[in-house]
Amino acid sequence: MVLKPIDFKVADVYADWCPGCGDFGIMNGVQMAFAELGLEPHQIVMVSGIGCSGKEPHNVKCFGVHTLHGRALPFAMGIKAANPALEVVAIGGDGDGLGIGAGHFVNAGRRDLDMTYIIHNNGVYGLTKGQASPTLRRDEKTKALPRPNINEPVNPIGLALISGFTFAARSYAYDVRHLKDTIKQAVQHKGMAFVECLQPCPTYNDITTKDWYAGEDRKDAQGKPQSRLYKLDEIGWDPVVKDWNEDFKKKMAALEKTQEWGDRIPIGVFYKNELEPTFQERYSKRVPFYLTNPPAKQKLVDDNGNSNVDLKQFLDELKTS
């Protein structure tokens, strides 16, 4: 049975984002990606944090785990580690993932579980009414701020690269096609994949708006807006690390690309390395049956309803007589 994006919609849940919110685009991108990947709803777990973005799983028909603010990754890690057969996609806001959740972000990179993390970068804390998120640039004053933002922004892709994510990409909420393709690649990537999704928040972010990304403020002679976004594909960017020798170089190049902002903003896959063994691979070396009989699937019990464990291995060490 080949599923369509519509099969991933949830009938009786009203998607309560503001009109024009980029989250609609992201939701569509996710649903399309799942369909095109040939996945069925029960094979996928979407894990989210708290924020406008955090509500997304309720609008996608697959297992949804809407967790706590900043904690999507720890939950996702537990799910994936306990049942590596599941396709786990964690998502969340920029405040969620890079403010309160930054510690998990950094440490998730080191672990390299084979899953995907999508951050909705809208520059604000949407659901709490527009405070500065960690991606907002210094001195910028979005609508709801009483004072201009006093902090420097974090560089999400840069942070992912330094933290050991083996896939780092950026896409845009309103380029649903590109977003869908990017998410597909992230899910298919073997290893911990990060997607930064630029997401206009028409309600609170009056700086990096849809119009701004589209370049409505800079029209060419014909009056055509000059989009600020361009695709890495189009400049022949090759993000794939084919052997370890080129790894650092490619990482640095990707990092340099993240410096572009303002008039030209690249989207696409910045970096990809599948040479690195995943957590699953690392752990399987110790426990060879991990993938075939992961924790979630173990029997625990014998035919009489008793625990199937033989404690002899423990007891022998402890015996004094």
Binding site: V65, G78, T320
Partner: protein, 641 residues
């Protein structure tokens, strides 16, 4: 029935092998058919600060520790200073003769507040300033002093071994003192040697070196100390199989038995040993196929609890293990688990608090905290074990409770239990049942519409594991409807709150009374002791002693904290003349809970919050004062350095 015992103590700087020595000593006693109860004390320090291990040995099963020391093996001067007065008349002290001239107040590891204390002691007792002066004082109390030239002996041993490197031989001070000790106690040398060899069995040549050192010291003492040290350790012959283990180990084994297959943790004393022990034994022997416990060291405790909850949603039995500071960070995650009805287990080892507190010391001051931790109201089950055996069985049972009632379960332990070591007949576990509660499979779900939080009579909705075909559903930390989608509707909210909360009534009804509380002593006595957790053993021993003197006393040990067995406890306490609350905290927290729940107010409190566990001796003394109407309402215990 007074349990007769020989009490041996080793003390020295952390890192000098006190633990190893004690393990060797305990094992050797175990090999001789004896029962051992070991109490371990150490600073939050890796090397250098004072640590000690008290091994109580008997032919009878032991439930607790006592104040007395019959033989003290002092690795250093500080040990003499700190423990000299614990050695009873006719007891002995093994001391490094090189330390005899050490000036007590020059010992660099003594903190100023302790120096002030001992300064006072010295003045009061007109003590001189050297270790020797102190020992003279002991001798007056009829304590034997056995000065041993540690270094000289070690050099002899080194020569025999052909090892010159000083650091390699000084490491054997610990085994040396065991040789001396066993010789003085006239204990079977072969058992000592076997314990040495077994303890170092994975270290190749080192085992032999230590065995030689042990024997050398044994011989030395036999030749040197002819005075008649009267204490004896005698092996007996037994047929039953016994194990010698710590609380941490018991919990780990219980977890595995109970089906735990994911354990997350962030290192913290005194919980981390459990996780490391599990990791070292990760591949399990089962009667079925391949199984293993996945142990994950997370980046912090927030990740630990939330990863464990995530794992639990997939159908893996999952737990995390921590102590106070870590649990404080888990509180939000606990609240999520309660709200989402996640069967996650938290093993909570209490230690000296607040904040970092006394990280390697004991405490029971987190009772109220775990009962109410988390914003909002949600059901949780709390089980508090009282000894190592309960640790084992409870650690397994909590997973049944968690899955059956779909609630987070807190298994409440403490440092005293985690770090004590005891001999037991091998635990019987063959008939331990696994009860996974109501779970629907792909087949059950075919053609049906599944709602994760369906309203039911009992409040329990059948579970479906993440990944199950036909069973897609949602979780959220927000209030939700039956599907698991966010809902702010007032009437749905009311029903969901009631659905969740009423599960506790079911637990209350279904859990057998013996899992909720233990009753010991004389049910009909007019006085009853109320306690929980690790004081159990000392209380039972004390009650037995008092009984012998005709002082009758009952003891109710509360094992299930939530849901609180209100009715049962009320029945036991009501009409008693004396209700005596015994706990390791300042506020008498269990007493408060009992008052709140049953209306009965304990009229005596025996409390301790020095970070050291109560001994039978102390509890006996304090209870006797109560029963003979000489006690204040509140007695605060102080024994132990």
């Amino acid at each position: 029935m007074v349990i007769k015992s020989i009490n041996w103590m080793a003390g020295g700087p952390q890192g000098s092998g006190v633990d190893t020595a004690s393990n060797v000593f305990g094992r050797a006693c175990g090999y001789g058919g004896l029962y051992v109860f070991g109490r371990r004390e150490y600073h939050s320090n890796i090397k250098g600060l004072h640590s000690y291990f008290h091994q109580r040995i008997s032919t009878q099963p032991l439930l607790a520790n006592v104040n007395d020391v019959n033989l003290l093996a002092a690795f250093d001067a500080e040990t003499v200073v700190r423990h000299m007065n614990e050695v009873v008349a006719e007891g002995g002290i093994i001391v490094d003769s090189a330390q005899l001239n050490t000036k007590v107040l020059d010992i660099p590891t003594l903190p100023p507040e302790f120096k002030t204390e001992i300064g006072k002691f010295m003045k009061e007792n007109a003590l001189g300033e050297t270790v020797n002066d102190w020992l003279e004082y002991s001798k007056k109390r009829d304590v034997h002093v056995f000065p041993v030239p540690y270094m000289a002996l070690l050099i002899q041993i080194g020569k025999k071994l052909g090892v010159e490197q000083i650091s390699k031989i000084t490491r054997m001070i610990n085994v040396l003192t065991i040789g001396i000790s066993f010789s003085l106690l006239k204990y079977d040398r072969a058992l000592g040697e076997k314990a040495v060899l077994d303890t170092f069995s994975e270290k190749g040549k080192i085992a032999d070196m230590n065995a030689l050192a042990f024997n050398h010291a044994y011989d030395y003492a036999t030749e040197t100390f002819k005075d008649n040290f009267k204490h004896r350790l005698e092996k007996i012959s037994i047929t039953e199989e016994r194990i010698f283990l710590t609380g941490n180990q018991a919990v780990a084994m219980g977890k595995v038995l109970g089906g735990c297959r994911v354990q997350t943790y962030y290192p913290i004393t005194p919980a981390a040993d459990e996780s490391e022990y599990l990791e070292a034994h990760e591949i399990l022997k089962t009667s079925g196929g391949d199984e293993a416990i996945l142990v994950i060291q997370t980046e912090d405790e927030i990740a630990a609890i939330n990863s464990a909850s995530g794992a639990a949603l997939t159908g893996a039995r999952a737990a995390t293990s921590t102590s106070g500071p870590g649990f404080s960070l888990m509180v939000e995650g606990l609240s999520w688990a309660g709200n989402s009805e996640v069967p996650v287990v938290i093993t909570y080892y209490q230690r000296g608090a607040p904040a970092t507190g006394l990280p390697t010391r004991h405490g029971q001051a987190d009772l109220r905290f775990v009962m109410h931790a988390g914003h909002g109201e949600f059901p949780r089950i709390i089980l508090a074990s009282g000894d190592i055996k309960e640790c084992f069985y409870d650690a397994a049972k909590v997973f049944n409770l968690a899955e059956k009632y779909q609630v987070p379960v807190i298994h409440l332990l403490d440092k005293a239990m985690a770090n004590c070591s005891q001999t037991f007949p091998v635990f019987d576990y063959a008939n331990f049942k696994i009860d996974r509660g109501s779970i629907l499979t792909e087949k059950d779900l075919e053609g049906k519409e599944y709602r994760r939080f369906q309203f039911t009579e009992t409040g329990i909705s059948p579970r479906v594991m993440l990944g199950t075909k036909n069973g897609v559903h949602w979780y959220t930390g927000d209030e939700h409807n039956e599907e698991g989608h966010i809902s702010e509707e007032p009437s749905n909210r009311k029903m969901m709150m009631e659905k969740r909360m009423k599960k506790l009534e079911l637990v209350e009804k279904e859990v057998p009374i013996e899992d909720k509380l233990g009753f010991y002593g004389d049910q009909k006595a007019e006085s009853v002791v109320l306690s929980w957790g690790s004081p159990k053993g000392a209380i039972i021993e004390a009650i037995n002693l008092l009984q012998e003197e005709g002082l009758r006393l009952g003891f109710v040990q509360i094992r299930m904290i939530i849901p609180f067995p209100t009715g049962e406890i009320k029945r036991v306490l009501e009409g008693k003349k004396r209700v005596i609350d015994i706990e390791h905290n300042y506020n008498g927290q269990l007493g408060q809970v009992v008052k709140e729940q049953t209306g009965v107010t304990p009229n005596f409190h025996i409390l301790k919050y020095t970070g050291r566990p109560m001994t039978t001796t102390e509890v006996y003394d304090a209870l006797k004062l109560v029963l003979t109407d000489q006690a204040a309402e509140r007695q605060v215990l102080m024994f132990g350095s």
